[in-house]
């Protein structure tokens, strides 16, 4: 009789669980490539068709890579229903939102038509926009680095949730089980 085995999953185990399936590796890779192209297109559109970046290129690579991995974790959690649909979707949205924000920061150069249009759409006026751009331009490198850190924290968070949910599942418990006091 095969006893139930419990997969003692930590965060490393969560990654192991996710990337054991080739489709999630593909999702991570394709997501990273897609997010890099988001950067590429937005930066070119803001700089008269020139890929003119003002932050180190490897930071952009780091954002694209971590966002791709985050997308894979989110897809896994939704597919396996490990977390609530809302939580898994939030991770997927975050993985897409963060590169978009990063591209706005990285493309904050002399001309910022896309960032300006986006902020005007949100109701920011020209004076407020110039103040925002002034701050972004001064702390562009730090802001881009912070975006990488945020992605890493999200990876840490979602891998932990997947690990806990996987651990509960293999222990025969529902990941949504509420603790019931035994009297």
């Amino acid at each position: 009789m095969q006893s139930r085995k419990t997969l003692r999953t930590g965060r490393i185990g969560a990654f192991a669980t996710v990337f054991r399936e080739p489709r999630y590796i593909a999702i991570a890779l394709l997501g990273a490539i897609a997010y890099y192209f988001v950067y590429f297109i937005i930066i070119r559109a803001s700089n008269y068709g020139i890929f003119l970046i003002t932050v180190p290129l490897y930071l952009i690579y780091a954002i694209a890579a971590t966002s791709g991995i985050l997308l894979a974790l989110s897809a896994f959690s939704i597919a396996k229903s490990l977390l609530s649909l809302k939580a898994g979707t939030a991770g997927g949205i975050a993985s897409a939102f963060i590169p978009s924000v990063g591209s706005m920061v990285a493309t904050c150069a002399c001309s910022y038509p896309i960032l300006g249009s986006f902020l005007f759409f949100l109701g920011v006026n020209a004076f407020e926009l110039s103040s925002i751009v002034s701050v972004i331009s001064q702390y562009e490198l730090e802001a881009t680095f912070l975006i990488v850190v945020v992605n890493m924290l999200l990876l840490f968070y979602y891998s932990g949730r997947i690990a806990r949910a996987e651990g509960l599942k293999h222990a025969g418990k529902s990941p949504f089980r509420v603790k019931i006091k035994r009297l």
Binding site: L7, G13, I50, A109, L141
Partner: protein
């Protein structure tokens, strides 16, 4: 009555029989973690290298500003050095034929670089001071597009007046460090400032430049409009204050919003951005700009005897500004009668 009911012994909670098998992480999972750690290391290295590069540039700046030391490009060699008479003559005495040829090249599609004749006619008229139309420029010494566009601006303005002085400058080191012209000797290593001076005179137009100043060894940087206004107000110059207020007044119109530098007004024509993208003989495909490898002498030599796309694009970009201004001047300046300018005005 006391309860005699005895509690039934709680059934022993059967511990879960857990047979834990520790599954070591797969190679793929380890690779994914390594990738993430790599991303952190790269990010940390990027910050470190930027700090180190900044320090190195400060050392180079200190060396290059020593007039007895000639530092090679792409450092800030010769920054704030006035153009000599020969160099100034390249701008002031450029042949009208160059403007005509470049204009015809643009009209027949022979210009390889982007020339962007997209200007907006100001809805409430132009800024007039001392009975003259005005050319108002708002830019930043740290801005790479301002850097490449000042050559075309200087050529355009030379058709309506004369520069007694121009200065050698650069865009920010972390913003491609292209050689450019400054309208005035710039404070390129102060934390924040505004330069509003120039050595331009004309009987047709006022030239009112507003150049945001920030450390040239950094990246692109610009002050908020309100901060710039504060600097301008400190000048006490009523024409400059009014001109900047004119710019601020345009921010209520969606078509004339300030969305980056350069932001120029040529009479009744407002150009939101550079009117050409001229970093070499063709539009760059990557982040490497040919112009950043050129010296001021290289640029001036090409403008003196234009025979490549870079030079012709500069003259074509100047033609766009000239055409925009000529409309406001009712074509009173001689350059406005050039056939190419006449055709550009009609476009």
């Amino acid at each position: 009555m006391a309860s005699t009911r005895s509690k039934s012994p709680r059934p022993a909670t059967r511990p879960l029989r857990q047979e834990s098998r520790h599954n070591p992480p797969s190679a793929i999972a380890i690779a994914a973690l390594i990738l993430s750690i790599f991303a952190i290391v790269i990010a940390l290295y990027a910050v470190y290298s930027s700090i180190a590069y900044e320090q190195l540039n400060m050392q180079k700046l200190a060396a290059s500003t020593n007039t007895s030391v000639s530092a090679p490009h792409p450092t800030l060699a010769g920054i704030d050095t006035p153009l000599n008479n020969t160099e100034l003559s390249t701008i002031n005495n450029a042949s009208d034929s160059y403007f005509e040829i470049a204009g015809q090249m643009y009209l027949n599609g022979s210009i390889a670089n982007q020339v962007l004749p997209n200007y907006v006619t100001l809805p409430n008229g132009s800024f007039v001071a001392n009975g003259k139309q005005s050319v108002i420029y708002l830019g930043s010494i740290t801005c790479v597009f301002c850097g490449e566009n000042r050559w075309a601006m200087a050529l355009a303005l030379s058709r309506f007046g004369n520069f007694s002085k121009l200065y050698k400058g650069y865009s920010a080191i972390h913003d491609s460090d292209v050689p450019t012209l400054y309208w005035n000797a710039s404070n390129y290593n102060i934390s924040a400032g505004m330069d509003t001076g120039s050595f331009y005179s004309s009987k047709y137009v006022n030239f009112i430049p507003f150049e945001d100043e920030a450390p040239i060894t950094g990246g692109f940087s610009i002050q908020p409009l309100q901060t710039m206004q504060g600097f301008v107000n400190q000048t006490g110059n009523s024409t400059k204050i009014s001109a900047f207020n004119f710019i601020l007044g345009l921010q209520n119109n969606a078509n004339t919003l300030f969305q980056g530098t350069p932001y120029t007004i040529w009479g009744n024509a407002m150009f939101a951005g550079a009117d050409a993208v001229d970093f070499g003989n063709s539009t760059p495909t990557g982040a490497t700009l040919a112009l950043s490898s050129m010296t001021h002498a290289d640029v001036l030599n090409q403008l003196r005897t234009p025979n490549d796309q870079f030079a012709w694009t500069e003259y074509a970009a100047a033609d766009m500004y000239i055409a925009g201004l000529c409309k406001s001047l009712n074509n009173t300046a001689p350059v406005c009668s050039l056939p190419a300018i006449v055709m550009l005005e009609k476009k």
